[in-house]
């Protein structure tokens, strides 16, 4: 592909993201005209109701952007590492693992701070990802989509009964947890953003640094090691990066599924499979998708809102179904 076309696509997607940012600032229970929104931001005044609302929406928008980036990139990364088109935190049960860890934290270690949430979520996500991948890749053929998906679904069913076992006798945990169980970016605060940001920056940095090596890995295990790539080291580092991204996002937003599944697929249709191109575009695409889903949820659910995680599941599950329908029987 010519790099001019790639630049064009990047440009278009940045414009799309910009549009979603503006929509996210203007739309909601209260619609604020575009010119007022822009004026409010540039004048930095918080006197009228509209201006206050605009400033209320800024952290949510920023968080949606970085969370979407993280999810999009971690999806692309996981799919590259597992060489599996359906690798996504929600399908692999990683979200449930993070949930279980957080519930354990709330119930037994009475954690309440964001930082503790993040560490528990990352720990849970990491352990689950490792377990599911190990189970799914035992046997001939390695980690095929169907084996991984079943391992993920089964593990997640098992973990959710543990979640119930811990939660049912404790009403207060149940109330805290149900707000966290549906993925949403509405609870974003500046504090939350600044807490996850370091994790996300490290995760994104690792992913982009690994892109060239992963591209070589895509040529095949033997060829890659022949070319001097330490395949296992690359996999482990890459998976750590992916888990950091997912875990940190999940800790604040709850489980948001399918962003990591859809975005890389669409991106690959546009620019091919080189990770050097897929990763940056997945970042922009993920941000656009999550913000878009959030805006749609706010518009559809007025005067309240539909959580972004529900919207992404409704857009994403059909795409998973499409992939499954298109795939050859052998591939499954």
């Amino acid at each position: 592909m010519k790099s001019s076309r790639f630049t064009g696509i990047i440009f278009i997607s940045i414009v799309g993201l910009g549009l979603c940012i503006l929509l996210s600032l203007t739309l909601g229970a209260r619609v604020i005209p575009l010119n007022e929104t822009i004026e409010a931001i540039f004048s930095n005044q918080r006197t009228t109701v509209n201006q206050v609302v605009v400033f209320e929406r800024i952290p949510r928008t920023i968080f949606g952007m970085i969370a979407g980036m993280a999810l999009g990139v971690s999806g692309a990364l996981m799919q590259a590492i597992t060489r599996n088109p359906i690798a996504d935190p929600s399908i692999l049960g990683v979200n449930t693992g993070a949930s279980l860890a957080v519930v354990i934290g709330i119930a037994f270690f009475s954690i309440g701070s964001l930082n503790a949430f993040i560490w528990f979520a990352i720990g849970g996500a990491a352990v689950t990802a490792l377990a599911v991948y190990t189970i799914g890749s035992i046997g001939p053929g390695g980690p095929t989509p169907i084996k991984l998906a079943l391992a993920g679904a089964a593990t997640s069913a098992a973990l959710s009964s543990l979640v119930s076992a811990i939660m049912l006798p404790r009403t207060e945990v149940m109330n805290l947890f149900r707000f966290w169980q549906v993925g949403s970016i509405s609870g974003a605060t500046w504090e939350g953003i600044s807490t996850v940001l370091p994790f996300l920056i490290i995760g994104l940095g690792v992913s982009f640094a690994l892109a060239p090596a992963l591209d070589i890995l895509a040529l095949g295990e033997e060829l890659a090691s022949g070319l001097g790539v330490k395949t296992n080291t690359i996999r482990v580092i890459g998976a750590t990066g992916g888990v950091l991204l997912t875990g940190a996002t999940t800790a604040i937003a709850g489980p948001i599924g399918f962003v990591g599944l859809m975005v890389p697929h669409i991106v690959r249709l546009a620019v091919g499979s080189s990770l050097k191109r897929v990763l940056p575009l997945s970042a922009i695409g993920g941000a656009t998708l999550l913000l878009g889903a959030d805006v749609i949820g706010r518009v559809l659910g007025r005067p309240s809102e539909l959580e972004a995680g529900i919207i992404t599941a409704f857009i994403g599950a059909p795409i998973l179904i499409m992939i499954a329908r298109k795939a050859k029987v052998k591939m499954l």
């Binding site: 799914g136 046997g139 084996k147 079943l150 098992a158 119930s164 049912l168 599924g257 998973l320 499954a324």
Partner: protein, 344 residues
């Protein structure tokens, strides 16, 4: 074929039959013993004599209420629900040729759960209407999954993957309803969602029993056909079995069983999934394991409910216990299956 070889084959067949009968009898015996224990044990322990007296219609002070109103409905519904899940699970697993393809993993239970939760939380309905709506919705969801997985050659793998996708959507709807529900309704809904026999009354029993008997018999009667299906698509066609029709009938009754049981008790985790493989283990291959699976299902539910009520300091719903008991077995099965390449 020589005569001695023929005798050997016949011996093999009758041996398998004997094993099947023995296994079924032992399972029935275990269930009966457990049932009596369940009726005897509770906050107050009654002797067998009192249990028999209450069951034969005599009024015994205290015991009539404890046994007749509390323990008996719980026991019977646990029995029925377990059998329903067992039947349904073994059907799905046999047809999709994958032990992991049970209704609770590929989205059928989630379909019924959505409908039931909607009825309970939003419409404040209960009883027969809930069952009816969740059966319809369960059928709809399964039909959708089945339709979507067609096109080209039928592939169990594709169906499972699509089922998982559909389930993800349905689960997000469930979480949403829980989120928007009144705070006081949430514990009840959560308890139902994890599968519980707490709210059973004698009124639920007759229709549950009817469904289990009718659709259970359909499942058993088609068991022979099912066995031929197990030989594989191509050979079944040449044996003269109409594969598509059989498949649809069997899946249909499995869905009705799942949906009905789910509407009554909530989705009790892993019972559908565990019963088939355990029954197959006990009975051995070669014979239909629909009935043994149903018995294993009933046994699982009763044991788990007993543990959940009395063995731990706190009372936990039966689904939580089956979930915790089932998880290690599930992981083991996954590993074993993957090692032999069964899932791919």
């Amino acid at each position: 074929m020589s005569i001695s070889a023929r005798i050997d084959i016949r011996k093999g067949i009758s041996g398998r039959k004997r094993r099947w009968i023995t296994a079924t009898l032992i399972l029935t015996l275990l269930i009966s013993i457990l049932s009596i224990v369940i009726l005897m044990v509770g906050n107050t322990i009654y002797p067998i004599k009192t249990v028999v007296a209450v069951l034969s219609g005599e009024t015994v002070k205290g015991a009539t209420f404890a046994i007749g109103t509390l323990r008996l409905p719980r026991l019977l519904s646990g029995l029925m629900v377990g059998m329903a899940f067992g039947f349904a699970g073994s059907t799905f697993q046999t047809i999709l040729r994958n032990p992991l393809a049970s209704p609770d993993i590929i989205g059928v239970s989630a379909g019924s759960s959505v409908a039931a939760i909607f009825c309970i939380l939003v419409l404040n309905l209960s009883g027969l209407v809930v069952s009816f709506v969740s059966v319809i919705f369960g059928l709809l969801v399964s039909a959708t999954i089945y339709r979507l997985s067609q096109g080209g050659q039928f592939s169990g793998g594709r169906l499972i993957l699509i089922g998982i996708g559909v389930q993800a959507m349905l689960n997000s709807v469930i979480s949403y309803m829980l989120l928007k529900a009144n705070q006081y309704d949430v514990p009840g809904a959560m308890r139902w969602l994890s599968g519980s026999l707490n709210t059973m009354s004698m009124n639920d029993i007759p229709r549950l029993a009817t469904v289990v008997v009718v659709f259970g018999s359909i499942t058993i009667l088609l068991g022979k056909l099912l066995q031929m299906l197990e030989l594989g698509e191509q050979s079944a066609i040449s044996l003269g079995v109409r594969t598509d029709l059989t498949r649809i009938l069997l899946i249909g009754s499995a869905v009705v069983l799942t949906a009905f049981a789910t509407a009554v008790s909530g989705p009790i985790a892993f019972v559908a999934f565990l019963s088939g493989p355990i029954a197959k283990r006990i009975v051995g291959s070669g014979k239909s394991h629909a009935l043994p699976s149903a018995l294993v299902g009933a046994l699982l539910v009763l044991v788990a409910d007993f543990i959940g009520q009395f063995a731990l300091g706190i009372k936990l719903p039966v689904g939580v216990i089956t979930g915790i008991l089932g998880a290690p077995y599930l992981i083991l099965l996954l590993i074993r299956m993957n090692r032999t390449g069964g899932a791919a």
